[in-house]
């Protein structure tokens, strides 16, 4: 039971989305009844020990969330993340998306030479960029400047950015994007 509790905690923690009880049972190799017991036990523990976690158990799904009584602090976290002034790294990523969007994350990475996951997420949360499904890759996304941000910049179309055509078509950028990633 203790081992199973630990496993369920880990899985729900990482998932984010609600997970079906049947799926939990399958990957932890146990019965659904056993999973139900574990979920109840965890819920009770979190409440009794006033932990920061909370289990939302709805029909045949379970999801981990933060404890409702900590809502105000969570709100503060969100605000403090979003109100940060834009770092150089964010500005770089934003300018790449502005001039080269819609663009994939691997392409942004190869232009900057570093991994952009964190930066992209922050820009998304702040509503400065938006992502759309990539028609050429069902698992990937394309990133582009958000309409709100464009408006804020005083533009109605991204093409009105200064020297848009020229900078967008720059050969150096093209060459680095086409450059095959080195195997390491």
């Amino acid at each position: 039971m203790e081992k199973l509790k630990s496993l369920v905690e880990s899985v729900l923690f990482v998932s984010g989305d609600p997970v079906e009880i049947s799926r939990l049972a399958k990957i932890t190799e146990t019965s659904e009844a056993e999973i139900e017991n574990v979920l109840m036990a965890l819920s009770a523990e979190y409440a009794a020990a006033k932990r920061g976690f909370f289990i939302v158990h709805k029909e045949n799904e379970a999801q981990m969330a933060s404890a409702p009584e900590n809502g105000i602090v969570v709100e503060k976290l969100l605000k403090s993340e979003l109100r940060e002034s834009l770092s150089n790294v964010s500005l770089e990523t934003l300018s790449i998306i502005a001039y080269r969007g819609p663009i994939t994350r691997p392409e942004i990475d190869s232009i900057r030479g570093v991994n952009s996951s964190f930066t992209l997420r922050a820009l998304l949360m702040r509503g400065l960029v938006e992502r759309v499904d990539n028609p050429r890759d069902s698992r990937g996304y394309l990133y582009k400047i958000s309409f709100d941000f464009l408006k804020k910049l005083g533009l109605d179309r991204v093409e009105k950015l200064p020297d848009y055509e020229e900078l967008r078509g720059d050969e150096r950028i093209n060459s680095i994007i086409q450059h095959k990633e080195e195997t390491i």
Partner: protein
């Protein structure tokens, strides 16, 4: 055994050196460096696909090995302080490299083990809100993008450098042998006065040391010790370049 070494691809001079020493089951010490010097030079000479940049690294190690080797052949040959320090540095560098090479295998095992930690997608399921930065206008975006573009050529230049024409030690020895024919008195600085860069100087120096070494071995069998020493003195001190 030696044949196998030649077929392998090494990532750098230290890697090669370590492999040669390990093959003889020796520790990293001066005596082992002297023992593998010839094999090392042999490898560098035959290697045709070392990039120019890495060739410089291979050669700077080679020059130190030749010093160590010369001393092994000529016990009276004295090292300058600078040479002594360079050799000590090489010994130390090799030990460091060895430590990291060894620990990197353990890191690799950890990396491949299923004991992995996973985190959640950040702010999963939370709605952000539109919070545009103040004081950012379209020209900031343009300026930043331009800066990114302008930094790209450095990567390309580096690539070009890697594929630049490769100077091999062998090539240089032949060249020098020709140049030296009939003008044994010419000084090293004269020979390298036409060199284009540091790498070429190092290559010339190595090539010359190779020639010297061959002569030493030849002379040693016939003439007395004193003569050899005089011969050496006529050659430039490596400190000068």
């Amino acid at each position: 055994m030696a044949y196998r070494i030649k077929l392998e691809q090494f990532e750098g001079p230290l890697d090669l050196l370590l492999a040669l020493i390990n093959e003889r089951k020796m520790d990293v010490a001066r005596v082992s460096l002297a023992a593998v010097a010839d094999q090392y030079l042999e490898y560098v000479k035959k290697q045709e696909n070392i990039s120019l940049e890495n060739l410089a690294h291979f050669l700077s190690v080679a020059s130190r090995l030749i010093l160590i080797k010369s001393r092994a052949l000529l016990p009276l040959l004295e090292f300058s302080q600078e040479e002594e320090k360079e050799i000590k540095d090489l010994e130390w560098q090799l030990r460091e490299f060895k430590r990291f090479k060894e620990v990197s295998r353990r890191i690799g095992n950890l990396f491949d083990s299923p004991r992995k930690i996973f985190s959640r997608e950040g702010f999963w399921g939370m709605d952000g809100f539109f919070y545009p930065p103040e004081n950012i206008n379209v020209f900031d975006l343009k300026k930043t993008f331009l800066k990114i573009i302008n930094e790209i050529p450095e990567v390309e230049k580096l690539e070009e450098e890697m594929v630049r024409e490769i100077v091999t030690l062998e090539e240089k020895i032949d060249h020098l042998r020709e140049a030296l024919k009939g003008r044994m008195e010419s000084s090293f600085s004269e020979i390298v006065s036409s060199a284009n860069d540091k790498i070429e100087i190092i290559v010339s120096f190595l090539a010359m040391l190779e020639l010297i070494k061959q002569r030493i071995i030849h002379v040693e069998q016939k003439e007395s010790f004193k003569d050899i020493k005089l011969t050496m003195k006529n050659y430039p001190n490596p400190q000068n370049f």
